[in-house]
């Protein structure tokens, strides 16, 4: 995410994602939304899904870059051969929310330099909780390394 949005916005959207897909009432809400509208399916891109769920950076100027990032996930690889990072995330949400025993979803990041793939796993990412989660981990570059390029590209775009 660091290549597209600031560290503050990354923390902001991770917080929202982990709240909205957290255990208990939030997860129930997401299961119902999925059942009723199939927000995570081939009908909607991640960008459209997160728009419907209003999972966006609080900073208005960052929202465009967040949507650009969500679209860019189509070019990321994933831990499933031949499946893009974007589709891997959509399917992970869909299969989980439509399963007989949906799990809360924990979204996190890992260093792009260590692994370029979007990873989906199941386990206990929050060490003080016995709760099992579906974990989605997104390869990320520190914003400090990437944002100067974004600024340069933006400057070129606006002339």
């Amino acid at each position: 995410m660091g290549a597209y949005i600031t560290d503050t916005s990354t923390a902001d959207v991770l917080f929202q994602l982990n709240n909205r897909f957290g255990p208990g009432a939030p997860l129930d809400e997401m299961v119902t939304i999925q059942k009723e509208f199939q927000v995570f399916s081939e009908r909607y891109s991640l960008k459209q899904a997160f728009r419907l769920l209003h999972i966006v950076p609080a900073d208005f100027t960052e929202r465009r870059f967040w949507f650009v990032f969500l679209e860019a996930l189509k070019n990321y690889v994933s831990d499933q051969e031949g499946i893009s990072g974007h589709d891997r995330i959509v399917r992970a949400y869909q299969e989980n929310l439509e399963s007989a025993r949906p799990l809360p979803v924990h979204t996190t990041t890992h260093r792009l330099a260590d692994d370029r793939r979007v990873m989906v796993t199941q386990g206990h990412p929050i060490i003080y909780e016995p709760q099992e989660y579906l974990t989605i981990s997104i390869p990320t570059k520190p914003a400090a390394e990437s944002l100067p390029r974004r600024a340069a590209a933006e400057a070129r775009r606006t002339g």
Binding site: A25, V31, E36, I55
Partner: protein, 233 residues
């Protein structure tokens, strides 16, 4: 208009009602305050779910789905949307029931909301909007999403008298039935005096005993609230 599942913190800094709205049972002062609250939301967020105090489009749609379970779309119908805000339900109807024939009338306290609604649905004669709290004529159905939730410190007896008269108005405006939702519990970190979360039995019994309706309570749709579907008998 809707109600406060959105920005939990938003209600924290609000001052409860004061002056005439509390000292004297003045419904107009209460409604005026509610109107100002939503107009501030609209000014801040624009014509979108946040602008009527809902957290997102998906939860707003979930509520619409419940309210519309009252209606039969097999034949043409007329619908009053009380507290229509910027007209989101009219757009949802077109999307969800593209073949249905619905004569839609949205009513809202706020002229700013009605202006935005009219702009969004310009050119469609089956979709109309009016400023107000009720309407003298009947439609097949009346629905209201979130209009009972934000009481902004209004004392419970006064707020409940407003709920009672609003439900009676909805009954009077409806030939076949009306539907309304209520909060089942307070969102986290919300001052309790700002919102209204009654037990379902209070208003379902009122609709049955005082308004002569058959009432179905729906509380199984994933959000911490419930919807009353009141069918006229």
């Amino acid at each position: 208009m809707a109600a406060a599942d959105a920005v939990e913190g938003d209600l924290k800094g609000k001052r409860p009602l004061s002056g005439s709205a509390v000292d004297a049972p003045d419904p107009d002062a209460v409604w005026h305050r509610v109107q100002a609250y939503y107009e501030a939301k609209l000014a801040r967020h624009g014509a979108n779910p946040r602008g009527v105090d809902w957290s997102c489009t998906a939860t707003q749609w979930l509520r619409f789905v419940q309210l519309l379970k009252l209606c039969s779309f097999d034949t043409p119908l007329s619908l009053i949307d009380l507290g229509c805000g910027y007209g989101a339900l009219a757009a949802f109807l077109a999307e969800r029931y593209p073949r249905a024939s619905v004569d839609y009338l949205g009513i809202d306290l706020s002229s700013a909301m009605v202006r935005r609604a009219r702009r969004r649905h310009r050119g469609n004669p089956a979709i109309r909007f009016r400023i107000g709290r009720s309407y003298p004529q009947q439609a097949d159905y009346t629905v209201a999403s979130g209009v009972m939730n934000v009481r902004l410190g209004c004392p419970i007896p006064l707020w409940e008298s407003l709920v009672r008269s609003t439900l009676a108005d909805m009954r009077r405006m409806s030939r076949r039935g009306f539907a309304v939702n209520f909060l089942a519990m307070l969102p986290v970190n919300t001052p309790p005096e700002m919102l209204y979360c009654p037990h379902p039995a209070i208003w379902s019994r009122y609709c049955e005993e005082e308004l002569g309706c058959a009432v179905e309570v729906r509380d199984d749709y994933g959000i911490r609230e419930y919807t009353l579907l009141a069918r006229c008998q």
